[in-house]
């Protein structure tokens, strides 16, 4: 057991910090605003130094570093502390690029990865449909080859950021006679074209982060398919694997800290809510879950560094984090009391205490739905983690 940095880690830490001291003087723009040029320039410098896009080969614009989770962690720690931008956020970086590196053709990698890294191509994830959510493989959006192009018809829904995206990676049924899973292909397409209509959806928070996307004879080149025809289901699994490989823990710690700030800033019966015995007990109960999850994450990290397996633990992270976030929301409501009647919902994310909290209370619900509903997580834990019998219908 050793929670400090080794001498080599320490050197690397100092090196990253010195780099940040020398190059990052800016402030991050609010999310949702377009990124100014100095952010782009900073990313290029940081990539040259080997701090960003480490798993991406140089020919595609990455920094091509050997896998080293410890260094990755130091970089993340330093960048977060300096509030410096890391890789461009979004599904392109977190899901599409790893998928292209594993399954894409050489020309697809050259065509898409460099521009995605620079933020010129922004990707939407086109999986869910009105009739296909948890049962994703029942999706119906169809693709037919017609003179060197796929012609796509159907509808996607809940598509995050589709209104601002330039491209989509989508699961499309191209082999109608090949069975439920075997008929699906993984296609890439441009969103700005006559056959595509995007409508934003008004969410529970009043904001519009996700959209409906309608396809009426939308088109994409025949070779914009990743992997083989009918191989899309397996490929989408690798995308999800990458989505889940980001070990949770740190985020719930930050969430709990902001709840403590709320509890210190609001009074109940003439003293800070943090000192109210009932509130305090619930917050300390949460603290126990957060600490357990935090150190469970440290352990998983240590196993990854050692090249070993952490067994079933990675499967637990999403549900553990979701449950913590939902309980934070419950406690926050009790701290706010009827002050909640005079707080904003829409556009309050990122505001100061206590204005962001109604938004957060509602927003936490997305965690239990997006990226695999909690019940689906439980199925996965039970079947893949605990080894209980598989339900053949699912």
């Amino acid at each position: 057991m050793d929670l400090g940095y080794s001498p080599q880690d320490r050197l690397f830490f100092d090196e990253v910090r010195a780099f940040l001291d020398g190059t990052w003087t800016g402030r991050l723009p609010k999310s949702g605003k377009p990124e100014p040029d100095f952010v782009r320039e900073f990313r290029l410098l940081a990539t040259e130094r080997g701090y960003l896009y480490r798993s991406i080969p140089k020919v595609y614009g990455g920094s091509e570093q050997l896998p080293d989770p410890m260094r990755g962690r130091i970089i993340r720690d330093c960048f977060e502390r300096a509030r410096a931008p890391m890789e461009v956020p979004g599904a392109g970086m977190s899901m599409l690029i790893p998928t292209l590196l594993e399954h894409g053709s050489e020309s697809q990698r050259r065509m898409f990865i460099p521009k995605t890294i620079l933020g010129e191509y922004r990707w939407a994830q086109g999986y869910s449909e009105p009739g296909a959510g948890s049962d994703l493989a029942s999706l119906k959006t169809s693709g037919k080859l017609d003179g060197g192009e796929w012609v796509i018809n159907g509808q996607k829904i809940w598509t995050s950021q589709a209104y601002s995206a330039t491209h989509m990676f989508a699961l499309v049924r191209t082999e109608p006679n090949a069975g439920k899973h075997g008929g699906i292909s993984y296609l890439l397409l441009e969103l700005d074209q006559p056959g595509i209509t995007i409508r934003t959806i008004h969410q529970i928070t009043g904001e519009s982060e996700f959209c409906e996307v309608f396809f009426e004879d939308a088109r994409t080149p025949a070779d914009w398919i990743v992997g083989a025809r009918g191989g899309g289901w397996g490929i989408s699994k690798t995308t999800l694997k990458h989505e889940r490989s980001n070990i949770g823990g740190v985020r719930t710690l930050g969430l709990l800290e902001s709840l403590w700030r709320l509890a210190r800033s609001i009074e109940i019966n003439g003293r800070p809510a943090a000192e109210d015995p009932v509130i305090r007990d619930r917050m300390m109960t949460l603290e126990g879950y957060v600490q357990a999850q935090l150190f469970c994450g440290y352990y998983q990290f240590a196993r990854t560094v050692g090249g070993g397996s952490a067994g079933m633990l990675p499967l637990l992270n999403k549900l553990a984090g979701t449950r913590i976030a939902l309980e934070v929301a419950q406690v926050a409501q009790d701290i706010l009391g009827d002050r909640g009647m005079d707080l904003p919902v829409k556009g309050a994310a990122g505001k100061r205490n206590p204005a962001q909290w109604l938004n957060q209370v509602l927003g936490s619900l997305a965690l239990s739905i997006a990226g695999g509903a909690s019940n689906i997580q439980r199925n996965i834990i039970a079947e893949r983690g605990l080894g209980l019998p598989k339900d053949e219908a699912l």
């Binding site: 940095y5 126990g288 999850q293 039970a382 605990l386 209980l388």
Partner: protein, 356 residues
């Protein structure tokens, strides 16, 4: 940074686990009359693994392997609901090595390290009052009345909590009063004692008392974590084999989800306990915070998990013959001793938190 056990600790974990599996398999512990004999056999076996010497520094003839290593043994003992005095010997030896004068060390250290002397910790005086700030007995008193002392009947010496800190009282100065009822957790019988204080030997002040108390809380936490995980494992195995409606009950989604929720609760707990033990070992400023909170969290979650395990088993889980109830009672015992979760959460809230 490496948040994992060392290879040495892992080998030790395997050795303890093998030993316990060998000696305590099946439902042997559910036969009450077998427990004292098994406890003696466990003490002998754990002596052979030098468990009582783990915590004492090498300079004092111990192994100096730290609380985390002792916690590794503690988790395995919790998993098997094993009766033994070895953990108490280890902590008692550490207290005397750390805070005793040369006479006390000469008298007690060797037999404790060898596992030949047994310790009882005499802390609680009134219901739900356990911690050093709540001790009202004093070295000035002629007698001290203490309750719920684990292993009192076999103890050769008592480490007693007093206003001034800790003191040591020998067996012949104690008059035991056994409880009216058999203990809830048969693996850990306890008794009260009226202690003659005339020959009590001071053993460190209040800081020493809290440090000892923190170590015992961490050991209770990891014991509960072990019991809770074992209850989950038993439930998973049972769900794979028990057939109803023509299929294993583990194929019903309600059972799957119940077991998945248990896993999300209990699996991460041990890592918080590891951290608390590590923080204690390096005397981190937040060690008292994590000791109190780990005890509250681990015992709460372990009891919740073990109760859910009984439900997942159906009728068999509700019987004395099936060993699941041993784990539930073990966790309940861990939860009840050394301050309640509510008290410990309030305590932790007043202590310095880890920096993040």
């Amino acid at each position: 940074m490496h948040f994992d056990l060392t290879d040495e600790q892992k080998q030790f974990e395997d050795a303890v686990e093998r030993l316990l599996t060998d000696k305590l398999s099946g439902n042997i512990l559910t036969r009450d009359e077998a427990v004292p004999g098994l406890a003696a056999a466990m003490d002998e076996a754990l002596k052979s693994l030098a468990v009582p010497a783990i915590l004492v520094p090498e300079a004092e003839s111990g192994l100096g392997m730290g609380l985390l290593t002792l916690a590794v043994a503690g988790e395995a003992l919790g998993r098997h609901a094993a009766p033994t005095s070895a953990i108490r010997s280890a902590v008692g030896a550490w207290a005397i090595a750390s805070y005793g004068d040369s006479t006390l060390k000469a008298r007690w250290l060797e037999p404790l390290l060898a596992g030949d002397a047994k310790v009882g910790f005499a802390f609680s005086e009134t219901s739900d009052h356990w911690n050093p700030d709540e001790w009202r007995a004093s070295l000035r008193d002629s007698r001290a009345n203490k309750r719920c002392i684990e292993g009192a009947a076999d103890a050769d010496l008592f480490i007693v909590g007093v206003e001034e800190g800790l003191c040591l009282v020998a067996r012949d100065a104690a008059e035991l009063h056994a409880s009216e009822y058999p203990p809830l957790d048969t693996s850990r019988p306890h008794a009260g004692a009226m202690l003659e204080m005339a020959d009590a030997k001071p053993l460190g002040g209040r800081a020493a008392a809290w440090r000892l108390y923190d170590a015992l809380m961490i050991l209770a936490a990891i014991d509960a974590a072990g019991a809770g995980r074992a209850a989950l494992d038993m439930s998973v195995e049972y769900a794979k084999t028990r057939v109803q409606f023509g299929r294993p009950i583990g194929s019903f989604q309600a059972i799957k989800h119940a077991l998945a929720n248990m896993a999300v609760d209990i699996e991460p707990v041990r890592f918080f306990c590891w951290y608390a033990a590590h923080a204690w070992d390096v005397s981190a400023p937040e060690a008292p915070w994590s000791a109190a909170l780990a005890k509250a969290h681990a015992t709460d979650v372990a009891v919740k998990t073990a109760r859910a395990a009984v439900e997942a088993h159906g009728g068999i889980g509700y019987t004395w013959e099936y060993p699941l109830h041993l784990l539930l009672k073990r966790a309940m015992h861990d939860r009840m001793v050394l301050s309640s979760p509510t008290q410990l959460r309030a305590r932790a809230a007043s202590l310095p938190r880890p920096l993040t």
